[in-house]
């Protein structure tokens, strides 16, 4: 049993296991805190700043992001003070300034009481710079195909030198974690394309499943996973079998790969 930590969130007494974040503790208690850059399988980076909360009690009163702040005995957390709401709304307005038509962002803004932005820039960019794609590609897949380029306002996600990526293995994790669909993956026939800003960042030919004949994954990805996957004794990843067919075989599915929630993305 992990040690339980007692804290108060919005006046409610809560016990959470040591090491969990305030955000996780709040969610477990059914308290909604908006987030954008947070993703369960990824280490929190605390950059979108939406999950800010006011802290007091056992620490000096301050505003911090709840995704990184760990629970602490005697911590008093307020998630909806006037100051927090004001700041959160302004941050959403700022994000909407560059992504005014982004559906997911509009939904979240609506939930937080923001209808329009006073900071329209004339841009129409679905990327909200949450960095999930960069983190999943770097920290979970280990392919380092996506990175941040430029500083400050011009920061954006790109492949090396903004060319077709050499390092991309075509797994599609980035598209899977992207909250707004700014990065998309498209399989058509035996072709897979991963693209962002209307520009193709990677292109692959798909392999056929030996059993059902469906195109399912690029060679590079299959090889990569075969090298990286954890292979329980007695189980061999059989060449070129799609996950569905694999599941139907007698063998247990390849249990764990080093990807966060255990799922092979986008086979």
């Amino acid at each position: 049993m992990p040690t339980m930590i007692n804290l108060t969130i919005n006046g409610e007494k809560i016990a959470a296991p040591e090491g969990t974040s305030v955000l996780q503790a709040a969610r477990q208690a059914g308290i909604f805190i908006p987030t954008l850059c947070d993703y369960e399988a990824l280490e929190p980076e605390g950059t979108c700043r939406l999950c800010i909360v006011e802290l007091s009690g056992s620490i000096r009163p301050c505003i911090r992001v709840s995704c990184i702040q760990e629970v602490k005995e005697g911590l008093v957390v307020e998630t909806e003070t006037e100051r927090i709401i004001k700041n959160r709304r302004l941050i959403l307005e700022l994000l909407l300034g560059r992504s005014p038509y982004c559906r997911e962002l509009l939904d979240l803004a609506g939930k937080c009481g923001v209808m329009t932005s006073r900071f329209l820039t004339g841009e129409d960019d679905d990327c909200i710079r949450c960095g999930r794609c960069v983190r999943v590609c770097r920290d979970k897949i280990g392919a380092y195909a996506l990175c941040w380029v430029n500083r400050g306002y011009n920061r954006k996600v790109a492949t090396d030198f903004e060319r077709l990526s050499e390092y991309c293995i075509g797994c599609g994790s980035c598209a899977q974690v992207c909250p707004t669909g700014a990065i998309k993956m498209e399989d058509r026939g035996n072709q897979r394309r991963i693209y962002t800003w209307g520009q193709v960042v990677a292109r692959f030919e798909l392999e056929k499943c030996e059993k059902c004949g469906r195109y399912f994954a690029p060679r590079k990805y299959i090889d990569w996973m075969r090298r990286k996957a954890f292979k329980p004794k007695g189980i061999e990843l059989i060449d070129l079998i799609c996950p569905e067919c694999l599941r139907k075989t007698e063998r247990p599915a390849p249990a764990k790969v080093p990807f966060g929630n255990g799922a092979f993305p986008a086979w």
Partner: protein
């Protein structure tokens, strides 16, 4: 030749970046050659050496000529001037008066108190022997004989606070790092110095690198560390070179390496070159950068003294902070605490730039009135213009108006005034400075230099610049000031690192002291300082104009017409508001409106 009676000749040539740029090395060579030619080298073993910056870079190359203990200082020395100086002064005994420094040089130094910079300008920074002869490494040797807690107590009692930004008490930082659990600990030196116009740290390393090394040795002993890093920007080649050489010399003398000073302690220092991003000076970004990752700040919910570089307890101090340490150990906490004001102890180095007569580096005791720095040491404002404000604390500091000139210069008073000490940048502005325009400049710096990972800083500061732009272009409305204040509050509250939380400071402080200027731009569509082109026009006062034709001849747009000896007129349609006529009219006839 040989009519000289001199026995001892020492020639000290300024060879900091300023001195070298002005030709310092050529001057050294010229002196050597000239002394040889005059047969002085053989008879008197004169010493010609390079010394660190003494702060008055505007007068480089500065040369001290010391003959039998009597020193005269020459300014703007070039190789051509060397021969006359040698023959008239050293041989003939008569200093070349016209090339000597003038009164301003002495006024510049009068009110200063040089402790950290004491050796700069006196010793050869590339010679460990000269540093030792000046008392160097005595403090380290003494400290190694003391207990770590004893050292920490001394540093705490001295009242030394960080010189790199926040002014955090150094002794307390050392203590938390010493107490942090873990065997491996690091001591780090922040020599990133990214503030535009600042060169305090560069000058210390160029002029007295061993003081920083000695400070770090003492700190390492107090904290319990065997490895140190100096993070220095690659744009400082001379400083890097001198530091590298100093480290080698210290290793040769067994002041660094295994069993230093003959004790059981091991300690060595590595140099890490930074790529020159301003944000890399932030403590967590600096550490990720040393780890060879992108230099981006991380949230500091766990102190770096507990979990810093490679997850180990790490103690980061600024160059100037480290350079203060040896003298505190040497002369005692009480002596140090006797200098400065109530809660700000010791001296602080400022780089004085902008609209000021004597630009340069100045070291003053904390608590000195701001007025003394600007009007005595700095020699006041050029061209008899009015002082308007001084910006302290780097790009994210605040502007201090004339009404606060008598304020003591220390951590408390600066932050009370809405500014900060920062690393000691000081930009002086005169009546011709538009405060809206200036704020825009500083915020733009933060837009360009922020890393861009967190939303409020990346998007918010950009939006503030947009609003400021609209104001200076005459498109401001009554909503603009409110929006600026709203953005400033959120950016301060929610940014990830201190670059963001302090970026709105220039706007906040100018709105506090110069709100009328914002209002003039917005409501009267008028820029009182005559800087914002869309809100300024120039005209000629017919009563004052003598018809000298100077302005008409210099106008790049051909907008000024008029007969000789008759009042001239500016054609507003052609005028590009370049200010040339305004700056150059000898009769004050060009007016701004």
């Amino acid at each position: 030749m040989g009519s000289t009676t001199a026995k001892e000749i020492v020639i000290s040539v300024c060879a900091g970046t300023g001195g070298v740029a002005a030709g310092g090395f050529n001057v050294i060579e010229a002196f050597k050659a000239e002394l040889d030619k005059n047969g002085l080298s053989a008879n008197y073993q004169p010493r010609v050496h390079k010394v660190g910056c003494r702060g008055f870079c505007a007068k480089d190359v500065l040369v001290d000529v010391q003959v039998d203990g009597k020193t005269e200082t020459y300014q703007f020395v070039t190789p051509e001037k060397v021969a006359p100086i040698v023959s008239e002064h050293i041989v003939g005994g008569k200093p070349v008066k016209k090339w000597l420094v003038k009164k301003d040089y002495h006024i510049f130094h009068d009110k200063q108190q040089k402790l950290v910079l004491a050796n700069c300008g006196q010793i050869d920074p590339e010679s460990i022997e000269e540093y030792i002869a000046a008392g160097g490494y005595r403090a380290a040797s003494k400290a190694l004989g003391m207990g770590p807690d004893e050292i920490i107590e001394i540093i705490k009692a001295s009242g030394l606070r960080g010189r790199g930004g926040g002014g955090f008490p150094t002794g307390i930082k050392w203590e938390s790092c010493r107490r942090a659990s873990g065997v491996v600990k690091y001591v780090l030196c922040n020599a990133d110095e990214g503030d535009p116009g600042a060169f305090m740290d560069r000058s210390i390393i160029e002029g007295n690198p061993h003081a920083v090394i000695e400070g770090m040795i003492i700190g390492a002993h107090a904290i319990g560390s065997v490895e140190g890093f100096v993070y220095i920007r690659a744009e400082y080649p001379l400083a890097v070179e001198r530091l590298r050489r100093a480290l080698e010399q210290a290793r040769e003398k067994h002041f660094l390496g295994k069993k230093i000073f003959g004790t059981e302690m091991d300690f060595d220092i590595k140099i890490v070159l930074g790529a020159g991003a301003f944000v890399c000076g932030e403590s967590t970004a600096l550490m990720t950068s040393i780890e060879d990752k992108a230099g981006e700040p991380r949230p500091k919910y766990v102190h770096t003294t507990d979990r810093g570089l490679w997850g180990k307890p790490s103690n980061l101090n600024n160059v100037e902070t480290w350079a203060n340490v040896p003298m505190i150990i040497e002369k005692g906490a009480k002596w140090y605490a006797g200098i400065g004001s109530e809660r700000s102890k010791g001296t602080k180095i400022f780089s004085l730039v902008g609209k000021i007569n004597n630009t340069g580096l100045v070291e003053v005791p904390m608590g000195i009135p701001l007025r003394d720095v600007i009007f005595k040491i700095g020699g006041g404002i050029p061209k008899k213009k009015q002082f308007k404000a001084v910006q302290t604390g780097g790009p994210s500091g605040g502007c201090i108006p004339a009404s606060l000139l008598d304020m003591p210069l220390d951590y408390e008073h600066l932050s009370e005034a809405g500014s900060m000490m920062g690393s000691g940048g000081m930009i002086v502005m005169d009546e011709d400075t538009c405060m809206v325009d200036v704020s825009k400049y500083f915020l733009q710096f933060c837009v360009d230099e922020g890393c861009g990972q967190c939303t409020p800083c990346r998007e918010g500061v950009f939006q503030m610049v947009r609003l400021l732009n609209e104001i200076t272009e005459g498109k401001g409305t009554e909503k603009h000031i409110g929006l600026l204040e709203e953005l400033a509050a959120t950016i301060k509250d929610t940014s990830l690192c201190a670059l963001g939380t302090s970026a709105p400071n220039p706007v906040i402080s100018t709105l506090r002291y110069f709100r009328d200027e914002y209002e003039a731009h917005i409501f009267d569509k008028h820029c009182p300082a005559g800087v914002c082109k869309a809100l300024t026009h120039f005209y000629i006062d017919a009563d004052k104009c003598t018809g000298c034709t100077l302005c008409a001849r210099n106008c790049p747009a051909g907008a000024i017409t008029g007969e000789k000896k008759e009042p001239h007129v500016i054609d507003q349609d052609k005028c590009i508001v370049c200010r040339i006529c305004y700056e150059n009219c000898k009769f004050g006839a060009v007016q701004k409106g």
